[in-house]
């Protein structure tokens, strides 16, 4: 065994020790065993290299063959990724099923792209034109909704030669060559490889100036996330993290959605796959799947691939960003990724830090979230990657390391609350502990798009909710009957805001998505009712007279009414009628 060939020396779960020639390069891809299971080098020292494998290690034994590639773990990027579902290391699961059947088996090596499919390509460059990395040189229609813009691989520059004419090509066909200053010619095609752990280069970062519009009232109105920003959704199980992620994936105004099911339930991925193929994008009217890429590492799929999956997702997101698209990456859940990190770290016998997570957890988290941003691409276009990471804190306790460290690298925090979920208040985003640091940055956009005075309305809503929290402390002790009318009004209005506005029914056709102008209309109507009622109480007319008209109950249904096409004026008239009814009685 000393002929310089690498062989397996030890096996401990997904961690394999390799001996043979000199140590292999860090983070390089190796294939292990006769089945050629892919793995990555995670540490090296002396004559021993340690590899984590992306599939089960059952059946591997001492002396088994090891095939180093010398290359880092990479994926093949190109047209055909949209509408597709991949595992954690970018193998298309549909093709895996065709080859292996209903259950996932080991040792299948597959490129992310269909190498045989022909694409109708239009070339955007001509012979002799200057070429630069990141430049768009060809385009093809990848789905009904999305044009795939092929980019010159970053780092390449020179002049285009041997440019082919428009026509049908496979992803690996050479479409042109780039000849650099020293006369070296590099062929380029629709497909390019990129190492998943390396951020794709950009021209520069741009400030965040607009929100990711989600159609979810509590998010858009109170706690928005900027395009190119990062948000975290922590919550105990059953609080609705996955539902929020699904709603955002369905309705947010991103061009491309990368949905990453990281260590979660198999049925959930099946559900996304089925539902997204049927649902239509509100913007384009085309099936949502046409703008979506799914990555599935369900909780019973190999744990090492879970660690890699978020980088796979991020690399795909960056690739579409570089074409000039706004991409939203939903990672559900980052805690499972952190636990995968912990599991591998334990097997490597590294020194554990807090809760036995490795000490490098914060720097890995930072490295992931910092790949988000609003960028000017190498081609001079604007594109963004927005990251929305679910966090599953142990026991719903937000003081655990993953939540706490994540909080340092995100600026929007949607805290899901168990009590709200128990009362079936969805989305269960708790308005007292959630926050968004982006609002100040994107205020101008709101004033221009939601409507003049939005900032003030939002502040009033927050104030009413906060006053209610304080008042509820008293109500719990003495009941609400004894409160003065102006305080009762705060409680009534807050209840209306909570149940009539913040609560949103994801399964109700008319309520699942609400565009900005309707959100604004609702806010105005609710606060109009509050103002008019205040005028009544100022005249010492008891609030319960107004409540007896049923106007508050009617306003609870406003969200459905607006969704079904009733105008705001209808509700304003209801309010006016109720007020004049009360006034007439007291005249």
């Amino acid at each position: 065994m000393d002929d310089g060939r690498y062989y397996i020396y030890g096996v401990n779960g997904p961690v394999i020790t390799v001996r043979g020639g000199r140590a292999l390069p860090m983070m390089s891809l190796v294939y292990v065993g006769d089945e050629k299971i892919p793995g990555e080098v995670v540490s090296a020292g002396g004559d021993t290299t340690t590899v984590q494998v992306y599939e089960g290690s059952e059946g591997l034994g001492r002396g088994g063959p090891v095939f180093p590639t010398g290359k880092p773990m990479s994926i093949l990027l190109g047209p055909g990724m949209l509408s597709n579902i991949y595992d954690g290391i970018a193998r298309p699961l549909g093709t895996v099923a065709d080859l292996a059947g209903d259950f996932i088996s080991k040792g299948i090596t597959l490129p992310a792209l269909d190498l045989e499919k022909l694409w109708d390509v239009k070339l955007a460059v001509s012979e002799g034109q200057e070429a630069a990395g990141g430049m768009i040189f060809a385009a093809t229609r990848e789905s009904d909704a999305v044009e795939h813009r092929s980019l010159v691989p970053p780092g390449l520059s020179g002049k285009f030669t041997q440019v082919v004419s428009d026509g049908l090509y496979k992803v690996t066909d050479t479409l042109a060559c780039v000849v650099d200053g020293r006369g070296r010619s590099t062929p380029i095609s629709l497909a390019q490889e990129w190492p998943i752990r390396k951020a794709r280069p950009i021209a520069r970062r741009l400030p965040i100036t607009r929100p990711l519009v989600t159609g979810q009232r509590v998010i858009d109105t109170l706690f928005p996330v900027g395009k190119g920003g990062c948000a975290a959704i922590p919550g105990p199980f059953g609080a609705g993290k996955t539902m929020v992620q699904h709603q955002l994936a369905k309705w947010s105004d991103a061009d491309i959605i990368v949905y990453l099911g990281c260590g979660e339930r198999g049925n959930e991925m099946t559900q996304v796959l089925g539902e997204f193929s049927e649902l239509k994008d509100p913007k384009t009217g085309r099936p949502l799947m046409g703008r979506t890429i799914l990555i599935a590492n369900t909780s019973n799929m190999p744990v090492a691939a879970r660690e890699a999956s978020i980088y796979t997702g991020m690399t795909i997101a960056e690739y579409y960003r570089d074409m000039g698209y706004h991409v939203a990456l939903m990672a559900d859940s980052t805690s499972r990724w952190a636990e995968a990190l912990r599991e591998i770290s334990g097997r490597l016998e590294e020194m554990p830090a807090e809760e036995s997570f490795p000490a490098y957890l914060p720097s890995r988290l930072a490295g992931f979230y910092e790949r988000a941003g609003y960028m000017e691409t190498l081609a001079g276009r604007e594109g963004s990657v927005t990251v929305i990471g679910a966090v599953s804190p142990q026991g719903g306790d937000f003081s655990e390391p993953v939540t706490q460290n994540t909080k340092r690298f995100i600026r929007t925090f949607w805290a899901l609350d168990r009590a709200l979920a128990y009362a079936r208040h969805f989305p269960a985003i708790d308005w007292t502990s959630s926050y968004s640091e982006y609002f100040e940055d994107i205020k101008a956009w709101y004033e221009a798009n939601f409507g003049q005075g939005f900032t003030e309305l939002r502040q009033r809503i927050l104030d009413i909710l906060n006053s209610e929290s304080a008042l509820m402390e008293i109500v719990k002790l003495i009941g609400s009957d004894v409160l003065p009318d102006d305080q009762k009004l705060i409680i009534e209005t807050a209840k209306l805001i909570r149940q009539g506005y913040l609560q949103q029914n994801a399964f109700h056709k008319a309520d699942t998505y609400m565009p900005p102008e309707k959100q604004m209309a609702m806010l105005e109507a609710i606060l109009y009712l509050c103002d008019e009622a205040k005028k009544l109480t100022a005249k010492s007319i008891p609030l319960n007279q107004l409540a007896a008209t049923g106007i508050f109950s009617a306003m609870y249904k406003m969200k459905f009414g607006l969704g079904e096409g009733q105008p705001k004026a209808y509700f304003i008239k209801l309010i006016d009628d109720a007020i004049s009814q009360v006034l007439a009685k007291n005249a």
Binding site: G10, R62, G274, P352, E355, S356, A423, V475, G479
Partner: protein, 460 residues
């Protein structure tokens, strides 16, 4: 040629170490023959050069380091399967306990199973009616789901599980139905209780039992659910059975996992449980489901006893993150004499929304369920207010809520262990109770359904 290694170099807990071994693969099955001629089985859990660590299923008690021979079989741990397993009783490692002969295999399967490819999964939509109102109305069980019962020591989870097994049926009537029962670290009484219940209801012929008692070796406890699920998958996906798997008690399983982990010298995580417990539990729970183009299904109802009734303890916590909801039992209701003591608010069935309502069960099912939750959650506030300022002082609406809460617990949640309530009966009862409240309080239901089902006094 049969190679046997004589002697061991180390023993600890249920682990033994051999040196100078070659040609062995990870997760391979080994046969260990003691000096007395007794045979035990083990599994390779670590290879480090010529040093091989084995996990001995039956434990190491009585092994003499020098007088022992080990033979590696070259294959993983497999379970012999055939349709004959129906009606049989096995131990945690799949060996017969009922005095009958070994199963003559029609197939051998690796007990670790393989992950179902998400693109081939069939999304579960067919509702299983259990005849228990608190489950059917608000946390409905769906075929292919994994829905655990979170209980505590001394509560009536076993009676509830047995009732579910007796009464479970689907909307569209009877099909091939089987039960796989897996006991992990339970007392003999518990196993007897289930055996007797299956016998009395005439179900025994459709039941396969894997029993690992509290005094049996912990390694077999770790194998037991894997054997049970392998049998379930075989019956479901090979023979088209709809299999209901009862796993009890998952807390004992997790404790066995912890014991085993610490004997390997692994770095412990929360409360001493191994850091891979999430992945390990997922490798059990995720084996529920349905597959496109195959007739059968695997539905899991794992039972776990929450240590100190604490739902944030790692065992219920990690379980809740993997399973598709949970049915939580409440000690308070149990003490009030309510059976089944299902605590409505923390209970949840994630798949219910897609398997109930028009076209699946009844048009008002989903809205009614939502409204019952919302109204019952208001009961707690009204009660705590009443306890502070007195029941006479609270408002009329709060008084109605307190009244509603009382009737909801005693008439809706409570039912006898032999009462099989039909879906219509359950839903109508729900409406009857909601009709105690003013119509304006029912904001979760549309006017159309209220007009049809609400029977209370019309205010306004």
């Amino acid at each position: 040629m049969r190679i046997e290694y004589t002697g061991l170099s180390e023993m600890q807990g249920s682990l033994v170490v051999l040196e100078g071994v070659s040609g062995v693969t990870y997760d391979e099955l080994a046969e260990i023959t003691l000096g007395s001629g007794e045979r035990r089985c083990g599994r390779v859990i670590k290879i480090d050069g010529g040093r091989v660590v084995l996990q001995v299923f039956e434990g190491t008690a009585g092994i003499d380091m020098e007088h022992v021979n080990t033979h590696f079989t070259g294959r993983p741990v497999t379970l012999p399967l055939s349709k004959e397993i129906l009606g049989r009783i096995f131990d945690g490692a799949g060996k017969p306990l009922d005095g009958l002969r070994e199963v003559f295999p029609d197939e051998r399967r690796d007990i670790n199973g393989a992950a179902i490819n998400p693109v081939r999964r069939k999304y579960p939509r067919s509702c299983i009616l259990t005849g228990v109102s608190s489950i059917d109305a608000v946390s409905a069980l769906i075929r292919g789901q994994k829905l655990p019962i979170f209980s505590g020591a001394g509560m009536s989870h076993n009676a509830l599980a047995a009732q579910i097994v007796r009464q479970a049926r689907t909307m569209d009537g009877e099909e091939q139905f089987a039960v796989v029962f897996c006991a992990m670290g339970v007392k003999n009484d518990t196993a007897e209780f289930f055996k007797k219940d299956f016998q009395d209801s005439g179900a025994l012929g459709r039941v396969v039992m894997y029993l690992n008692m509290a005094s049996d070796p912990i390694i077999e406890r770790i194998l037991a659910p894997r054997c049970a699920l392998t049998a379930a998958e075989y019956l479901a996906f090979r023979h088209g059975y709809h299999v209901l798997v009862i796993l009890t008690d998952m807390s004992s399983y997790c404790e066995a996992l912890r014991e085993f982990s610490s004997s390997k010298g692994e770095i412990p995580s929360r409360k001493g449980f191994p850091s891979y417990m999430y992945s390990d539990l997922a490798s059990i729970y995720e084996r529920a489901g349905m597959i496109n183009g195959r007739a059968g299904s695997v539905t899991q109802v794992p039972i776990l006893t929450m240590p100190n009734d604490d739902i944030s303890h790692p065992i219920p916590d990690l379980t809740g993150y993997i399973t598709e909801g949970q049915i939580v039992l409440s000690r308070e209701l149990e003490q009030k004499g309510v059976y089944p003591p299902v605590s409505i608010l923390p209970s949840l069935s994630r798949l219910m929304k897609d398997g109930t309502g028009e076209g699946y069960t009844r048009e008002d099912h989903a809205d009614l369920s939502n409204q019952l939750f919302a109204s019952y959650s208001a009961v707690a506030d009204a009660r705590s207010l009443a306890s502070v300022i007195g029941e006479d002082e609270i408002s009329e609406t709060d008084r109605l809520y307190v009244e509603f809460g009382k009737r909801f617990e005693t008439e809706f949640v409570a039912q006898s262990g032999s009462e099989n309530r039909g879906l219509d009966q359950t839903l109508d009862l729900g409406w009857e109770l909601l009709s105690m409240l003013p119509r304006s309080e029912l904001s979760r239901v549309g006017d159309k359904l209220l007009d049809k089902y609400y029977k209370g006094a019309k205010r306004q």
